[in-house]
Symmetry: C2
Subunit: 417 residues, 2 copies
Amino acid sequence: MNFEGLLSRVGTGMQQSAIRQMGTVAAQNPDIISFAPGYPAPENFPWDEYGAIADDILRARGRDSLQYGPTRGLPALLDEIMALLGRRGIRATRDELMVTTGSQQGLDLLARVFLDPGDVVLVELPSYTGAITAFRNVQATLVGIEQEADGIDLGDLDRKVAQLRLEGRRIKFLYLVPNFQNPTGLLLSLEKRRAVLAWAADNDVLIVEDDPYGDLYFEDAAGAGDTRPIKADDAEGRVVYLSSFSKTLSPAFRVAWITGPAALLGRFETAKQCLDLCTSDFNQQIVLEAVRRGVLDRQMPRLRAYYQQCRTSMEQALAAQLGEAVSWVRPRGGFFLWVTLPAHVHTAAMLPRAMAQGVIYVAGEAFFVNGTGKNTLRLAFSLAPGAKIVEGVGRLATAVREELAAGGVATPVAALR
Amino acid sequence: MNFEGLLSRVGTGMQQSAIRQMGTVAAQNPDIISFAPGYPAPENFPWDEYGAIADDILRARGRDSLQYGPTRGLPALLDEIMALLGRRGIRATRDELMVTTGSQQGLDLLARVFLDPGDVVLVELPSYTGAITAFRNVQATLVGIEQEADGIDLGDLDRKVAQLRLEGRRIKFLYLVPNFQNPTGLLLSLEKRRAVLAWAADNDVLIVEDDPYGDLYFEDAAGAGDTRPIKADDAEGRVVYLSSFSKTLSPAFRVAWITGPAALLGRFETAKQCLDLCTSDFNQQIVLEAVRRGVLDRQMPRLRAYYQQCRTSMEQALAAQLGEAVSWVRPRGGFFLWVTLPAHVHTAAMLPRAMAQGVIYVAGEAFFVNGTGKNTLRLAFSLAPGAKIVEGVGRLATAVREELAAGGVATPVAALR
């Protein structure tokens, strides 16, 4: 049977996620040191507390606790998220909030509710692949905006938008990860946050603010004041804000949330009914109890210190072993360190060498919507324990030296986009 | 800010789920007896066994057990699902299988991978609203095929398809729930299963077989032999088959699966990367252990007997209290009893009367893609305990008698579609 003829345009055009592919490589090769997906370190999970919570939930035998739940999310969890948002400076009512099955679902919801084929989404160069894929899968046009050391280049934003307006294109939203951006680790400056919000009002577009890492600042380089969400100063409801418990509690619960104007949240709820009916009620209760019992609050200083140390280990190893060949921006929080190699090196083509050495990363080109970035790569320092970070950077250094010696012009491996 | 102008065509056209809306009504009104959503009875959940399983998983502190998992699903769980499918007569390899976040996600995946705007999907009259919504949200055209007592009307299928071919329409697949259909409870006869498979080959369309209820046959009326999936006899890979643990273990885990030709499963995996990255690894492990430890096998005879008794209670109550005014098809399995009222009664319009009496159902018109079925309603006998079933039917009988006395011509409530 020929299935190709039965596929939709979306089904025909979909692209594999470079991050997910590397996750599969890592899962199948336990000896590989993975700097590829942004996985949190399991060493930090509060196992015993989750055990006690699960035990309490199941002993209580609540009529609703193993049942289908409301599409919006567990009301008590929505209330806790509202309190948590309040501490980030964001006021949200229950009408302005919904639980999502991970933030990826939030991105998919946004794509479906906002984007017709050919609509324009503005993203940074580089930007998060999961968002790029979600927007591309509804056949949106992605236009990339350059970055500076303090985040998105506002001059380039104005130039690109002016050109798009001239072409009569319909710009729907600007997608930003202001805190410790995925993949670059960049922190958007407070001045630029204000400027971007004013720009969005002037140009009548939405801002989609994706913030999984904001609480994971490193105290040697940033504080809570530096990560204040754009949404916190959004008086007119122009910002849709996404965040998640995946990096702080556990990705295995698949509990995240989306907040924005109530009129939009109603649309998101209707869309989510069709995507998965509801997020796991059992997992929502575990997260609810973890917040209520202070597990999340106790985790945060520990996680900040832990990932800061991982970052330092990786930077020291890179400086010692590859300092002459690569450059990077020092991460002030989050999970990622963004590496730039000499212009002629193609990091996707170098990946087989790295895998042969027993280390993986995500080749940077997957994060660029304009075909550039071939000499960049993203290293996640979040998963591998400290000694493995040093060892992994050593393996990477071997691969880079081999690639440089070979002239850095090998053929790229197929399907790594 | 005006959001309407920013919405996509999909975002503008989305419709609320009548079932989900009734679920919200039930959650907000604990005194209401709900015959509306197809929720399993929490009395039957194996709470202690889930507690022991969760405890074991968290004590073991597996590096992967609270982590992001593979998009395809946990390999060990895929193996258990393959064994389970084998007992239903279906041979599937790991390449032909993927875990989904509930079957609703499977339906959404199918919509996105197969359907362009204007493509035709054939569904029964009536059919499951979650599927209807998923297909409509990608702007497919849904064409309804009449039913007979033993399932889909093959004559009507031929007539409709001939007409569609004349019109040059592109038919992508036929969506069927052969076992104890949602909403009618009908069981597709074995003869028709064979005929439908042959028809699909002759007409080069796919069959999407949705089977959440197949194992929940009632031993006084049906057996495993009657529920053999169409997929079991699919030699050429023409059937995509969905099933779930939601009705047998718990909906709160959101663990279901989809199986079909390997070439399609690769597409589904790529699509799922964009929808939610992966289904909760924690929940997949709970389900895995519940299968491994025999919890699922021990549950099945108990659930069959329990829901059979619920069905009997509801039938007896209906016969005693409404026998003169309504008719229904005796369910031989599953969760639903499908009621037809006199032609002039509009069940959506009658719903406020039922709610005033303290009982809810799903008005039948939501299940019809051709605007008919206004005098039908779906009763789920799965959730309310036996005494509540009798009481709820009594409340429904009062509402029906009031409606008949009023002439059955009240204005329908808005937004109940």
